[in-house]
Amino acid sequence: MEKGVAYDNDMNLKATELRLGLPGTDESQKEYSSFVKSNKRSSEEMDSSCNEEECAPAPKALVVGWPPVRSYRKNVLQQQQKKSDSDVSGMYVKVSMDGAPYLRKIDIKVYKNYPDLLIALENMFKCSMGVYSEREGYNGSEYAPTYEDKDGDWMLVGDVPWDMFVTSCKRLRIMKGSEAKGLGCQ
């Protein structure tokens, strides 16, 4: 029977600079998070912070009855989400940025090409991502846009032709430039 997580005094110091971001972006956050992302192939950063102890509690989505939302309400919410997600005219994907406290949702069908999309993202998150190059990616930029494709792989935005991107992109993540190095080189 698992005990309540005893928090480690050491962690306090590091974690005073606590930021909210995706699991795996900051090791110290993992201490109390029982949420484990179930990507088919997680990136390097995500694997390293997931040691046995922390993985023992079940992924949140699989904990029965938590959070305590009544089935009736869950069903209604799911129905309404499905409706908005499968908008015939739209293709909504979530966008997160490392360090930002919450996500946005955008309709990628609204954009015609990569430059349009990048400009929109730069405006939305007030960051600079620079220009994509096949060889160097977004080298030199503060941030780099990445996305999760249908197979669960994380790719650099711009690697595939636009039309293929639109149909295979499941969600976007604006990563710190330094962390995006090495993506797509698997």
Partner: protein, 589 residues
Amino acid sequence: MAQSFPEDVLEHVFSFLNYDKDRNAVSLVCKSWYEIERLCRRRIFIGNCYAVSSEIVIRRFPDVRAVELKGKPHFADFNLVPEGWGGYVYPWIVSLARAYPWLEEIKLKRMVVTDESLELISKSFKNYKVLVLLSCEGFTTDGLASIAANCRNLRELDLGESEVEDLSGHWLSHFPDNCTSLVSLNISCLGSEVSFCALERLVARCPNLKTLRLNRAVPLEKLPNLLCRAPQLVELGTGAYSAEIQSDIFSNLAEAFLGCKQLKGLSGFWDVVPAYLPAMYSVCSRITSLNLSYATAQNPDLVHFVSQCSNLQRLWVLDYIEDTGLEALAASCKDLHELRVFPSDPFDAEANVSLTEQGLVAVSEGCPKLQSVLYFCRQMSNAALVAIARNRPNMIRFRLCIIEPRAPDYLTLEPLDTGFGAIVENCKELRRLSMSGLLTDRVFEYIGTHAKKLEMLSIAFAGDSDSGLHHVLSGCESLRKLEIRDCPFGDKALLANATKLETMRSLWMSSCSVSFGACKLLGQKMPRLNVEVINERGLPDSRPESCPVEKLYVYRTIAGPRVDMPGFVWTMDEHVSSRLSRVTERRGD
């Protein structure tokens, strides 16, 4: 002293006593008062249908007109009680039908209700008036057709948030043309479209209709037709609140609302199109109860609408309201009693909206009458909880759900013991508390010491040891219901406080550390408790005594062990040892 009042005078005096507590007190004065009272008690509330048998009820109270029954434990709402556990109402209906031909009212919560039961109700009582089914399941629209067809003087039909097998909307057409008695109709949980013509005619011929909650299938364009025919409505639940943006639809809607001068409560709003919210502006200032918890509208439309309702007392809303919306609420709705903020995306680890502890603090500061809170959020701090406690010592119900289990104070990374401690210490009238986040045994010490009026406590993923549970059971004098999940509480505290359990309605413990052996001991020691073990994975093969049970439900009862248990529920009493060994023997071969 010899009795000086004749019986009918006493009976007349007792007729002014409506609360069960008062009537129970009166029954204890002397034998003759007990006799007089039991003959004139008309309303019965049974908080646990297994705590008493219908025979005992009928024997004591021969002339009852209204019965309220509750079945499954509260955690059934979150799928913690397996299918088939119990809570069947049919045997009760059979007994009530035989004993109380003049029964008018049945209210059920978390019970399994079959079409058979509904048909029996519809045919057994000569003056049947009220049927309320909250969070029930097991019936279809055919059962509703029986009720509609046979209850000539039906006043109230409320399906709450029940799970109904929706075969068709045709059942509504079974209300006869001469049924004009409806005061309240709530069909919001139904999926199928009912015949709009039949609905329109029904509404038109019931001049006393005060509450009408439609289901999603009723289109917005048709709402004015109903409102015009029922301008006396006090509570309205809309259907889907969406339509193409057309000026004639809008103006019809606005005009119809203008005519509803008595409207105090609004709900529904599925698929809401914000452009249509202003159609209700004419009624906003009179609205005291607003349920937008299925409305996926966002700010600024959402907060703009809510701020129009300056006399709001109760608000249920999704977290799309965000901190900014709650700050506006705190500024404009000074009469607010109750706030419930539900999560729009509960299963996402990341926040999709900007709703934090700040919103709740703002409301606790700005709304002096705030006494009832249900709040889902993703971060909390001790500082915020202390502020809330200091702002609102009049808090009565406080339910906080931090979505991440065991999440600490996000500022200091400490447990939230201090915060919740402040809540129980400052809010001396607190009757209901649900906690979440990182909590140690210390918080239970605070609760045991201060929460003397606490009646219901819900705990999840909290505590370090048995002393946590011991503090609660030994300290909370008014405790009636305790529900616990995923806490390291075990045998010691449970057995040490066995007699306490007889003073409570029930105790639920799931995924804790209580052993079969302790449950057996408890059951044997306390004959007036039903100690029920739920183990879907069957009984353990080896060393059953020390194995932890999956789920434990203990409740006081004068009806003895129940007889309708499914295979995965065992009552732990003096006979259980032989039963257990027989089962394990069988499995051995």
